[in-house]
C-alpha cells in the first residue's frame, strides 16, 4: 500500500549526491562491461579453438563402423565388406538441423616418395564437392589447387612437401597396402600444398579424391571409413550425434557416432575450464563491486541517520526503512545495468565484426594442439550478458543489505535528540 513512498524516497535520495551516485553507478556499469567483454573474449578463444581443432580436419561429429577405432583397420568400412548406399544417408544427415555438411572419407596408411626421399602419410580420400562444408584442409591451400576427382592428383602438407622437396606439378609415388592384399602403388602429381600452421597436420596428411584412393586401396565405391559432419554451432554436437545415430540405425548401418568432445577431449576440457573461469571472473568482478557499493551506501545511510529516526517516529516500521535502502540499491543497479549494456553492446559488436589482428603481438600459436589464429574475436552469447546482469542486480541488492540493516537499527528516539 505504501510501497510507492519508499521507491520515491529511494529515487530522490539517489539524486541527492549525484556525483557519488554517478561514480557508484559507473563502477557497476564498468564492472558489467569488463565481465561481459572478458567472457566474450574468452568465449571467442574457445570458439576459435573448437573451430580450428575440429573444422580443420575432423568435423564436429564423426561416424565410423563399430570397431574401426582405435585401430583404424582398412577393412572396417561402414556397412561392412559390402559397404553402404552412401548418398541417401548423406542426404538425410545433411538435413538434420544444425548440420552444414556431411562428407564421406576413406583413410589408409601409406608412403609418399619423391626421388630418394620417402615420408609416411595418412592417405585421406575426400569428396572435393562435399568436403568444404565439413573441413577446411582443402581450403588451406598455400600453393597450387585441390586434387580433381577422376585424376591421379594429391594435395600434401607444407611440411611433407619440404621434406620431399616437391611442389605443385611434381611427381610422387604413393605406396599403400590395399584391401585385396596387394600393395597399391601409383604415380601421382602434386596438385597443391596446404598449410595450416599445425606442424603435425602439415606433415601427415596426403589428400586424394575419394574415388582415386578407393581404387588405389582396392575398395569398392560404396566402402568408406568415415562420415564427418560439419555443424553451425559446435555446442550442438551431442544432440546432432544422437540424431545421426538414429539416421544410421534407420538405414540399417551399424555405426559408432562420436561428437567432438569425445575425440578432442582436451579441447572440451579447456572449454569447460574457460567457462568455469568465466563464472569465477564475474564473481570476482562483482564481489569487488559489492564492497565498493556497500561502502558508499553505508556512508549515505550514516548521513541520513536522523531521517531514518524521524520516519520511524512518524510510524514507519523497520521493514519500511530497510526497503527504501534496498530500493535505492535496486534503482542504482538498474540504471547501472542500462548504462553498462549501452556501453557494452557497441564494443561487443565492433569487436566481433572486426577483431583486431594481434599478429603483431604473437604469431599463430597452438593451444591444446589446436591452431589459434592471431585474431582476438569476441563471441556473442546470451548467457554472459544475462548472467552478468543478474550478478549486477544481486550485487546492488547485496551491497544495500548491510546498510539497510544498519538503518533499521537507528533508534527512533534519535529523532528527538539534540543535534
Amino acid at each position: 500500500m505504501s510501497g510507492r513512498v519508499w521507491w520515491r524516497l529511494a529515487w530522490r535520495n539517489l539524486g541527492r549526491n549525484r556525483k557519488r551516485t554517478l561514480i557508484t553507478g559507473a563502477a557497476l556499469a564498468f564492472g558489467y562491461l569488463a565481465a561481459v567483454v572478458i567472457v566474450g573474449v574468452s568465449d571467442g578463444i574457445v570458439a576459435e579453438m573448437i573451430d580450428n581443432g575440429t573444422s580443420l580436419l575432423q568435423g564436429q561429429v564423426q561416424v565410423h563402423a563399430p570397431g574401426y577405432l582405435p585401430e583404424r583397420s582398412l577393412y572396417a568400412t561402414l556397412g561392412g565388406d559390402s559397404g553402404m548406399a552412401l548418398s541417401p544417408v548423406l542426404e538425410r544427415l545433411r538435413e538434420l538441423p544444425g548440420v552444414t555438411g556431411a562428407a564421406p572419407r576413406v583413410l589408409g596408411g601409406g608412403l609418399v616418395s619423391a626421388g630418394s626421399q620417402t615420408s609416411g602419410a595418412v592417405l585421406m580420400g575426400e569428396d572435393p564437392a562435399l568436403e568444404p562444408r565439413v573441413s577446411r584442409l582443402m581450403a588451406a591451400i598455400a600453393t597450387g589447387r585441390a586434387p580433381e576427382e577422376g585424376t591421379r592428383q594429391v594435395l600434401i602438407g607444407s611440411e611433407m612437401a619440404r621434406k620431399l622437396g616437391v611442389g605443385p606439378g611434381s611427381e610422387v609415388v604413393l605406396v599403400a597396402p590395399a584391401a585385396d592384399g596387394s600393395l597399391g602403388n601409383d604415380l601421382f602429381t602434386v596438385s597443391g600444398v596446404y598449410r595450416t600452421g599445425v606442424r603435425e597436420l602439415d606433415a601427415a596428411y596426403a589428400l586424394l579424391p575419394i574415388g582415386t584412393l578407393q581404387s588405389l586401396l582396392a575398395l569398392a565405391p560404396g566402402r568408406v571409413h568415415e562420415i564427418a559432419l560439419g555443424l553451425s554451432d559446435p555446442w550442438t554436437a551431442a544432440a546432432v550425434a544422437d540424431s545421426a545415430r538414429a539416421v544410421l540405425a534407420a538405414a540399417g548401418v551399424p555405426a559408432d557416432v562420436r561428437s567432438w568432445p569425445r575425440f578432442r577431449p582436451e579441447i572440451a576440457d579447456y572449454a569447460r575450464l574457460a567457462r568455469a573461469s568465466n563464472w569465477i571472473l564475474i564473481a570476482i568482478v562483482f564481489a569487488m563491486a559489492v564492497f565498493g557499493v556497500a561502502n558508499t551506501m553505508l556512508m549515505a545511510t550514516f548521513e541520513r541517520r536522523r531521517e531514518f529516526a524521524v520516519v520511524r517516529a512518524l510510524g514507519t516500521t523497520r521493514s519500511g526503512v530497510a526497503r527504501t535502502v534496498v530500493y535505492e540499491g535496486l534503482i542504482l543497479g538498474a540504471f547501472a545495468l542500462v548504462a553498462g549494456a549501452l556501453l557494452t553492446a557497441p564494443i561487443l559488436v565492433w569487436w566481433h565484426r572486426s577483431p583486431p589482428d594481434m599478429s603483431f603481438l604473437y604469431g599463430g600459436f597452438t593451444m591444446a594442439g589446436a591452431l589459434v589464429r592471431p585474431v582476438l574475436r569476441v563471441q556473442y552469447s546470451l548467457e554472459a550478458p544475462l548472467l552478468a546482469a543478474a550478478a549486477l542486480l544481486v550485487t546492488a541488492v547485496l551491497a544495500a543489505a548491510y546498510p539497510a540493516w544498519r538503518a533499521t537499527r537507528v533508534p527512533p528516539a534519535d529523532a528527538l535528540s539534540d543535534r
Binding site: A313, L314, G315, R318, A415, R419
Partner: protein, 256 residues
Amino acid sequence: MRGSDTHVTDPTAGDRTTPGPSATAVRTEGLWKIYEQEPAPVEAVRDLSMEVRAGDFVAMAGPSGSGKTTLLNLLGGLTAPTRGRVWVAGRDLTELSGRELARLRLEHIGFVFQAYNLLPVLSAMENAEFTLLLRGLPTAERRERVRTLFREIGLDGLEDRRPGRLSGGQQQRVAVARAVVGEPALILADEPTANLDSATGDALLGVMERLNHERGVTFIFSTHDPRVMERAHRLVHLVDGRIESDVRPSGRGSTA
C-alpha cells in the same frame, strides 16, 4: 513529592471539543527511565505518574537535563521505559511489539521536533502528507487534507517547495501540519519554538492553539520559553526527572 498530580483531574477545566470531559489521552504510572552509562547510570525520569486529558494543551518546563525529551520519547513509544507503564489512546505501550508501536505512532501520535526534521528530498506537500501515504490514503484525499491545513496555517502556495527553500518558521509549520494531518489523538512537540525567533515562535504557537481549539488535538510540548509557558493550559515543571509542580493557570483551557 508527587502530590501535585491532583491538579490533573481539575474538574473545573472542561473542554467542549473533546469526546467527553474525562477522556484520557495519555496516562503514565510509576514511569522510570534509567540510562545505563559510565560512570553512573542516569535516572532521566523517576517514578513519574501523570494523566493528560484529551484536548489539553500542556507545556512541560524545566531546566536542561530535567528529563523533558526523555519523557516525550516515552510518551511517544520511541523508547521503552525501564519500569512503569504508559497508556496512549487506551493502549499500554509497554505491551506492544515494534510493529504495533509503529502502527500506534502512525495512527495516534504526531511528533514535532525542535530541529523540524523534515525530509529534505520531499516537498512541503509530500512531507506533510507522509503519514497519510504510509496509511495508504488515496492521493486526492491526501492532497485535499494537506491543502486545507496549509490554508489554515498560512502555508498556502508553498506546497511544492523543498524544506531547503522554506524559512525556519515555515518548516516548523510544515512539521506541525505533518503531525496534525492524520488527526492523531496526541501531538508531542519537543521545544518546537526553540529554533525560531520570538515573533515566528508566537505565530507557530498560535497555529498550535488553533488546532487545539478547533480540532481538539491534544498537545504536549516541552519548552524553555516563559512566554510559551504562559500560553499553556496546563504547566508541568520537571526537575531531575520528577514533576515538581503541575498547575493549571486560572481561566485557560476552560470554557469560560
